[in-house]
Symmetry: C2
Subunit: 357 residues, 2 copies
């Protein structure tokens, strides 16, 4: 399967590296990469000077779009689909605006449109949502789907720093872009909850219809006040299907310690959705970053290929099996009281033992 | 796609109901159901007196096994695969013992073997694990994969009841079987961690090699002692790949409040696994019960069918979009102090607002 790549920055470069590192016999090959002329020396004969060398190339089976932005990626994806290339994208702007058109074009041209990486980075969320929607009824989705702001709120909460200090650290660590407005105002999460809601409920939820309220005004003082009331704060997106209405918002919420979102810290994301038959499902993982996002895109690629080559388990390795006793402390209870010991020799010496996790 | 069902009890009956309720145009039909003669009146012309009427029936495309047990299901699954039927099972005993043989037979006969429901009930865990293993390296898996014991430990911790009292309640609620030994001793989790490890690492991990220590001896006094040390207790399965060794155990562990497993209560399951590129992924949902398990099996069915009919988004519904303001209390901060109000009229009246979640 021959891949054409649009964009070879943080995400696209990760995709290139992951595909290049796959075993040759899997048969995936990046044949063309479109990027700025500055990348020509590194990409050598794979370098493409313009996007049409990728999107209209008869050697390319799958186009992976990792450029970001809106208008130009939209044109590229459209051209690729019309040229009967499968398309994989991580671009939430373009997906949230054109989801219906992309899927329709894909269907009309007998190819796949995949956007797993557009929400929740490396979390296998959209594929699960699609599967659930096919056999179940999804009526509620909520979660933390912006790593930048979750990192900032976690730092403010745990380290007592100000929003600006946390934002500077996020930028230094690569968790935030130079202009973080789209994150702080909730625009990024608004795009993502539109994508999730549209797929889950089977009808387009438009970006411009969604209420959003950001965290730009949050200060150390407000956070202290919130804590004094017994709450912590998280910035979430939520949508609920009530008859033919989608109730949806992106806004900060107060949660108690017991809420499972409380354990979702720093750049991690978590999404929960409720199904009529299956109940509540939850997903957790890195919502951003080079390799989590690139992984999700390469997984989409493999999924497309799998339609012809399903999974079969092979017993390829011979493993030795042992336990954790050599690397763990243990709690032991002798019948009267318990203590923690460095190494458990024999559990049968005690009434009860438990490993310190 | 014609389905033959083996077993029409709690799980099998749920599968039958879910498939019967799918829209006709999806093309799934249960044509034969094998169960005890007592079910003949309910199942009518679909009733099969013996399993071969299902496993060797030329009208059946997919066999769904929901009988439980070991020897007889093993023979049935083998027969079905040799007769070129796709097989879907929720039976962890038989999968943990014969995983390699089943996948090999499926491959040789050009059909699929699917066992999503054998671990973690309705959680889309095995499909994610398979996807991750294809493009990434999984080196660590851990989690709560037995709903019965997690229910019991949660009740002991939250309500101060004894293990026997909690077990009785679990039985009354249908979370525990009459003989709960396999759950309490960790045998059930041992089977499940073997299945997950085998698929994740690409080599069979044998049931008999795995260290397991149960929670049968846990008392209220021990729990109190554990809490006094600043810990809570969870009963987990864990496996780690270290070179060519799989370090694996099923045992109670002590965790601190901050551990994300602490929020996994009652009959819920949660599994985390770590990937080299993608980092830590987590999955949460109902690990047992009629419809979660049946959902997972019907999802496997749809996945088999999808290899010919991929997903395309259709904008089928027209939604009205609103927010949560009418059903929620809000925290509002006026610049000096915060308070909680019943209804937010206008966020711009305040310096900061947040919804009570």
């Amino acid at each position: 399967m021959n891949v054409g790549l649009l964009g070879c920055g943080v995400i696209g470069g990760g995709v290139l590296q992951l595909i290049d590192n796959l075993p040759k016999e899997k048969g995936f090959k990046v044949v063309k990469v479109f990027d700025l002329p500055i990348k020509k020396d590194i990409l050598k004969e794979r370098f493409a000077e313009n996007a049409s060398e990728v999107c209209e190339n008869s050697e390319v089976d799958v186009v992976i779009e990792a450029m970001g932005g809106d208008k130009f990626p939209y044109e590229c994806i459209k051209t690729a689909l019309l040229n009967k290339k499968h398309v994989i994208t991580s671009n939430k702007e373009v997906v949230s605006l054109h989801i219906e058109e992309f899927y329709t074009l894909a269907k009309e041209n007998g190819v796949f449109f995949m956007c797993e990486a557009s929400v929740g980075g490396g979390i296998p969320l959209i594929c699960s949502l699609i599967d659930s929607a096919k056999v179940d009824k999804i009526d509620h989705i909520y979660g933390i789907i912006n790593g930048t702001t979750n990192y900032i709120l976690t730092r403010m909460q745990k380290d007592g720093v100000s929003l600006d200090e946390a934002l500077d650290d996020a930028k230094a660590l690569g968790f935030a872009e130079r202009d973080a407005t789209a994150d702080l105002e909730g625009l990024d999460m608004t795009r993502k909850i539109c994508i999730l809601s549209s797929i889950a409920y089977g009808g387009v939820v438009n970006y411009s219809d969604v209420y959003h309220y950001g965290v730009t005004n949050l200060t150390k003082e407000i956070l202290k006040d919130i804590n004094s009331l017994g709450y912590n704060i998280k910035f979430i997106a939520e949508s609920k299907l009530v008859n033919d209405t989608v109730r949806v918002s992106v806004e900060p919420v107060l949660i108690t310690n017991e809420n499972s979102l409380n354990g979702v810290s720093y750049e991690f994301n978590a999404v929960y959705y409720n199904c009529l038959s299956n109940g509540l499902l939850g997903f957790y993982g890195k919502g951003a970053g080079r390799f989590p996002t690139a992984s999700a895109m390469v997984n989409d690629l493999v999924r497309i290929n799998d339609l012809k080559n399903p999974y079969y388990f092979k017993n390829e390795k011979l493993f030795k099996v042992e336990n954790f006793k050599n690397e763990s402390k243990y709690y032991v209870y002798d019948g009267i009281k318990g203590k923690i010991i460095d190494k458990l020799m024999d559990a049968s010496n005690y009434k009860f033992v438990a490993r310190i996790f």
